[in-house]
Every structure is written in structure tokens, then in C-alpha cells.
């Protein structure tokens, strides 16, 4: 396998181990939104892609199902080294969190019955609930420019919480209405005056 001569000069060809380790370092240290910036910094600094390619991948990673960080890692790995690169990036981005969460889980099952640990866990869960609540507010605020979207949010929340509507149906039905609305708005914006 030799490097493609027609590839832009910005691209350098990392080893699979380098790809895996780069994402392992990010996935085992960064939390939440900061990871996207870390990945951007790493892949551009290392010359695996340019900023435009990265932004394109970020968009794809956010549209498709799956954690954004993992999808983004796969995109970067695949652009750097093809399918083996995607696999290396997947392992790098998923194995450290897997090991860390397993250690946390083993401690959980060992100590959860201790009253102090139990209290701490209940308190932490209340905190996590608060974060989810804040997130729900934040995301709803972003949709405030369209009354139909607010109605969709409320409807979805009710039918899922109280009537257990299956996720697939929610995405097809309410997602479908949202997509139709978005299509209509995009069409209107394009139409000549």
C-alpha cells in the first residue's frame, strides 16, 4: 500500500496504532462537548485532514445515529487510513470508556448497599436529573422560532412518557412532521418573491 500521489499535501499517513491511541487519549480524558474541539485540534495538528473536511465530518456525525464523538472518530479514522483506520478509531474511542465504566460498575455493585454510598448515588442521580432538565430547557429554547416545533416537542414528551409510544414510531411520525415542516420552510425561503 503506497500513499496516493494525488492526495493533497496536507494529508499525512498515520499508523493504525497512532489512530487508535489518538482517540484513546481523547476518549479517556475529555468530557462532553470538549471532545469535539479536542478531536478537531488533534486531527488538524497531525495533518490527517483540513478544517473543511473536519467540519463536513462533524455534520455527518451529528445527523446520523450514534454518539457524535464516536461517529466523528470513525470518520477521522476512515479518512486517515480507510476501513482499518475506522476500526482502529472505533476501538480507541470505545475501549477506554468501556473499561472505565466497568470499573465504576464493579465498585457500584460492591458498595451500593453501604448507606453513605447509597446516599451519594441518590444525590448524584438527582444531579444528573437536573442536568437533563437543563439540557431539555436549552434544546427547547433553540426551537422557539417555530410554534409547530414547540407543539411537536410537547406532544412527543406526553405520548412517550404517558402512552409509551415506541421510539421508532416517534421518529417516523413526529420526526416526519418536523422534516416536512423544515422542507416547507426551506422551500419558502428559496422561492422567488
Amino acid at each position: 500500500m503506497s500513499a496516493d500521489a494525488s492526495a493533497p499535501a496536507i494529508q499525512s499517513r498515520p499508523s493504525l496504532l497512532q489512530v487508535a491511541l489518538a482517540f484513546a487519549a481523547i476518549s479517556s480524558t475529555a468530557f462532553g462537548g470538549g471532545q469535539k474541539a479536542s478531536i478537531r485540534h488533534e486531527v488538524i495538528k497531525r495533518g490527517w485532514m483540513d478544517s473543511d473536511q473536519f467540519m463536513d465530518g462533524l455534520e455527518l456525525a451529528q445527523v446520523l445515529p450514534g454518539p457524535n464523538i464516536l461517529n466523528l472518530a470513525i470518520y477521522c479514522g476512515q479518512r486517515a487510513r480507510g476501513i482499518p483506520g475506522a476500526i482502529a478509531a472505533f476501538l480507541g474511542a470505545s475501549v477506554p470508556p468501556f473499561v472505565i465504566v466497568l470499573i465504576a460498575g464493579a465498585l457500584y455493585f460492591k458498595y451500593a448497599s453501604n448507606p453513605y454510598v447509597h446516599g451519594a448515588l441518590r444525590g448524584c442521580a438527582v444531579g444528573a436529573l437536573g442536568l437533563t432538565l437543563g439540557n431539555a430547557f436549552e434544546l427547547s429554547w433553540d426551537e422557539r422560532d417555530d410554534w409547530l416545533k414547540i407543539v411537536l416537542i410537547i406532544f412527543t414528551a406526553i405520548v412517550v412518557s404517558y402512552f409509551k409510544m415506541p421510539l421508532l414510531l416517534v421518529l417516523v411520525l413526529f420526526g416526519g412532521i418536523g422534516v416536512a415542516r423544515e422542507y416547507q420552510r426551506a422551500h419558502k425561503a428559496q422561492a422567488p418573491k
Partner: protein
């Protein structure tokens, strides 16, 4: 079919479905996951679900990594196997979709459909996040103090730069004092 294999396949199937439906970074799958693993299969309780979700938020990496813990608890005889299968189910299908889509992505690069689909799905995802609040609250303590902490954390998250693990840890300290 022996019960270990049967449970393993149920875990794999459950999380694979959630994986391919995990739009919006997986934020919307919480209510369905609760329905599957607590109400339907009864692998864990609502309290455990809320606490596993919390651990998922505390550790680095995607929150949905808490699927690993659900798999761990679902197979008491072979917890490590359950954990591995749940993780594979949760992350491999969406990753394959990503890798395949990237190969064909260039064709859609100029298509307005990309933005239309992602913006169009957003209200349903946000509604699912609201439902997640309701779902998680089934496994967290009720009462004036917990509700006050929940509200305070939400406000601090929106109004300050305090990080998620810091806010969760601080809530845990309060919990040791008042929620034992």
C-alpha cells in the same frame, strides 16, 4: 436454547435497535431503553437505571456507555459477557452506519436534505429529552429537597460554566447528608 445464550441475544437485539435509532447523539433513546430493560425484561430496577445513567454522565465518553452496566447486571452469571455484548450492541451498528455513510457522503454533499433532516428531527429528539427527565425521575428520590437540587443543578448548568461531573459530584455530597 439455554438461558445464557437467550439472554445474550436479547441484550444484543435490544441495544442494536437503540443504536440505529440513536439520532441526536443518542439523547432520545432513554425512555425506550427504560421501557425495554426495566419494564419489559426487568434486568434492572428504575433506581438502578437512574444511577447507571448517572455513572454514564460521570465517566468520560458518551453517556450511552451506561448500556455496558445494564448488560453487566442483566447476566448475573456472566456479567463481563453481558457488559461486552451490550456495548457491542449499543455502539457497533451506529458505527457501521457512519462508516458506510461516509463512503457515500460525497454524493449528498450539496444536498439541502442534510440540514432539513437534522433540523426536522430536532423537535422529536427534544421531546424525547423531556420524556427522559420523566423517565429518570422514576428512579430518583421524591420530595422537596431532591426537587430543589434538581432545579438548582439545571439553573447552574444553564447559567454558569460548572461542568457536568462537578455538578453531579456536588449533588452526591448533598445526598450523603440528606438522602441516605
Amino acid at each position: 436454547m439455554n438461558s445464557t445464550l437467550s439472554t445474550a441475544l436479547h441484550i444484543l437485539w435490544t441495544f442494536s435497535q437503540l443504536s440505529v435509532l440513536g439520532f441526536g447523539g443518542g439523547k432520545g433513546i432513554i425512555p425506550q431503553m427504560h421501557h425495554d430493560v426495566v419494564d419489559n425484561y426487568q434486568w434492572i430496577t428504575s433506581d438502578q437505571f437512574a444511577q447507571f445513567y448517572t455513572i454514564g454522565k460521570l465517566v468520560p465518553g458518551p453517556t450511552t456507555i451506561f448500556a455496558t452496566l445494564v448488560g453487566y447486571a442483566a447476566m448475573p452469571g456472566r456479567p463481563w459477557l453481558g457488559a461486552l455484548i451490550a456495548t457491542i450492541g449499543m455502539f457497533v451498528p451506529s458505527s457501521i452506519i457512519m462508516a458506510v455513510a461516509d463512503i457515500f457522503w460525497a454524493r449528498f454533499e450539496k444536498s439541502p436534505w442534510r440540514a432539513i433532516v437534522s433540523h426536522g428531527l430536532a423537535p422529536a429528539i427534544v421531546g424525547l429529552v423531556w420524556s427522559s427527565v420523566w423517565t429518570i425521575s422514576r428512579g430518583t428520590p421524591a420530595g422537596l429537597i431532591p426537587y430543589a437540587i434538581t432545579g438548582l443543578v439545571a439553573i447552574l448548568m444553564l447559567r454558569t460554566k460548572l461542568s457536568a461531573p462537578v455538578l453531579i459530584a456536588a449533588s452526591g455530597v448533598v445526598g450523603i447528608a440528606v438522602l441516605r
